[in-house]
Symmetry: C2
Subunit: 377 residues, 2 copies
């Protein structure tokens, strides 16, 4: 890293910008997005879907979004083994050797640790951004500027940086980050991470102005994260230290095959972020949604004059307000007399459910599995 890197950055649409060759991106896309059932399916989770009918899936949009910031050959995808074909199909630009395939589901910490060790083996001077693949970001130019600033920050500090989204409502579905001392405008020490609050607490969080949504987007150098893993998640670091000689070599997959299942299943927040004392937050506001639920998709979508959100299908509504209605391309959906519902027709499954009951979907999924095994999951 050299101090000239700050000067290198220019917005991508001005042309002529070449990203810092030490900057890497890890796109995580192994989740199953069950709260978005029946659109999100075990064999086609939501990150692979073109939710907005733009012609690009959420994963592809995540890739497109990072391209101005990181050289294409520095972009990696970590996913579950079963999704390798989907990733290859949707991101043909990414060769197979830059797709890290988890043999088992072990939450985010083992996945991120592996990616960090892998990148460190290729480039010990690397900095990296870790990003989910299934979120929505509407203002990509602001995202670009924020991430560029974040890279620059972690390249000059031994810091674990997380992006904190300025909250716009007392959301109970997100974790929050409480800010502490300000280093520079919009860049602050993290005081605490909190779990999802109840409605009253969420309102307090919003009112104080001290709390930001935890977007699960992280930046750090490989050195900083490896150090933090050694300090706060030694069991995990220990597994990957044993493989040090294999990362970036043909033996890497075999090593993972034999050792990944032995990793504790734990989130990076819990394993590292909540324990480390060099955690910082960059407070940002680039039109973010985790698209974790139908409700958040509704909130983030354009509404018609009756506050209905309609996606893909041809929809005609009568006395119907506040619904999110989604169906296959070319399908005609006609509704009368429904208010604040999810109507999600995914071809072989149709879900009709009040928006306010969407937390119910996980229960439904359990029932569906009991009756039909994995057929509709």
């Amino acid at each position: 890293m050299t101090s000239s890197q700050q000067d290198i950055y220019q917005p991508s649409d001005k042309g002529g910008y070449s990203p810092d060759p030490h900057r890497y991106c890890v796109i995580m896309c192994g989740g199953i997005g069950s709260r978005f059932w029946p659109y999100s399916r075990t064999d086609m989770p939501k990150q692979f879907l073109d939710f907005f009918g733009t012609g690009r899936s959420l994963l592809q949009m995540s890739y497109d979004r990072i391209l101005p910031l990181v050289n294409p050959e520095n972009i990696l995808v970590v996913t579950n083994r079963r999704y390798v074909d989907l990733v290859c199909e949707q991101l043909p630009e990414i060769p197979r050797e830059r797709i890290l395939l988890e043999p088992d589901r072990r939450n985010t910490a083992p996945c991120i640790a592996w990616a960090a060790y892998h990148i460190a083996a290729i480039d010990p001077e690397a900095s990296m951004i870790v990003t989910p693949s299934d979120h929505l970001i509407t203002r990509e130019h602001i995202f670009e500027a924020c991430v560029a600033r974040g890279f620059d920050f972690v390249e000059h500090h031994d810091a674990l940086l997380t992006l904190g989204i300025t909250p716009t409502r007392p959301e109970t579905g997100y974790g929050y980050i409480q800010i502490g001392r300000e280093l520079e405008p919009g860049l602050l020490k993290v005081k605490t991470f909190t779990e999802k609050p109840n409605k009253e607490l969420a309102q307090v969080f919003l009112d104080t102005g001290e709390f930001f949504w935890n977007a699960g987007i992280f930046l750090w150098t490989v050195n900083s994260i490896k150090q933090a893993l050694h300090r706060h998640a030694p069991d995990l670091a220990c597994v990957f230290d044993r493989g040090e000689a294999y990362f970036g070599t043909p033996k890497e997959e075999e090593f993972i095959e034999e050792n990944f299942a032995g990793c504790p299943s734990i989130s990076i927040d819990f394993a590292v972020m909540e324990k480390a004392d060099n955690v910082y937050v960059e407070c940002v506001n680039f039109g973010w949604s985790d698209l974790g639920t139908w409700g958040s998709l509704y909130d983030n979508s354009r509404k018609d004059e009756d506050d209905n959100v309609t996606l893909a299908a041809n929809v005609m509504t009568y006395e119907s307000t506040g619904n999110i209605i989604m169906g296959p391309e070319g399908k005609l959906v006609v509704t009368a007399g429904i208010h604040d519902y999810i109507v999600a027709d995914a071809g072989d499954v149709l879900l009709i459910c009040p928006k306010s009951d969407e937390q119910h979907i996980k229960v439904m999924l359990t029932d569906v599995q009991l009756r039909h095994d994995d057929k509709y999951l």
Copy 2:
């Protein structure tokens, strides 16, 4: 006709019964059943659908039901030209020459007149039953006995006989028949035909015990109906009299082609039944529904413990009561928090509509046509 015919009849399940060779059946199946949209479609109206998942369409069930009463070679189908392939496919037993194809829609009177002239040309001594193809009859043995009695009656009287269904509720969707003088138990002179009543009047009809539902099932001899046409619908009789020489010959279709469009578009009730003075009703009770609406399908279907009716699809309901839910075979439909709705997923069209708004469906169809032409009709 001989008086020994009464002796010939025995219930079909006792075996050895051979239907009277002068008895004919005309199954009308040219309707489009628009109130059952989106299941009933212009190119696949409801009579061709296997609504109850029994493996037989309503048309096929109508055919099966009449088989014990009429020789198969005496069964005719009258339909619109566009449905000839559907009829041939569903009733391969009926050869092409016994399918009368209307070149235009002209309501029931021209269709019935044609069938009567056609049969008279083949068998001047014929008696005939005219029956819709899209109704539900649940107690077929009672139907069988009633129709046999009806045939016997019209073969011995110059009578136009209609079947009147004992009403079980103050239905506003049906026409009613007011009974007059009783000839024998359950066989009465018709006093008046009435249009669909409003709720209050329907309740009065029900309370008096003098009113029966008009099922649109008629019996008469070809002589009686031809006479009645001459007397009460001379313009219609005139058209068909001109073709007298062609019926039952290869020139019949050409004659119809040239003359059918010139027939007035009028129902047999209006053209003949409401005017003639030899109209009788046989009061029957064989589990009948005209299946004219989603509501009547709901009323006639088995309900689960939450009073939901589910057809074809795999359905799972949560806090959902009183709904009729229909989807393609193999589709999973999950509903939460809906009460008294129609949920009809017909593959390319999904309709969600309160049962109480079903009269709205015709308006929707107009809107659909405006937006999408005939694509979804």
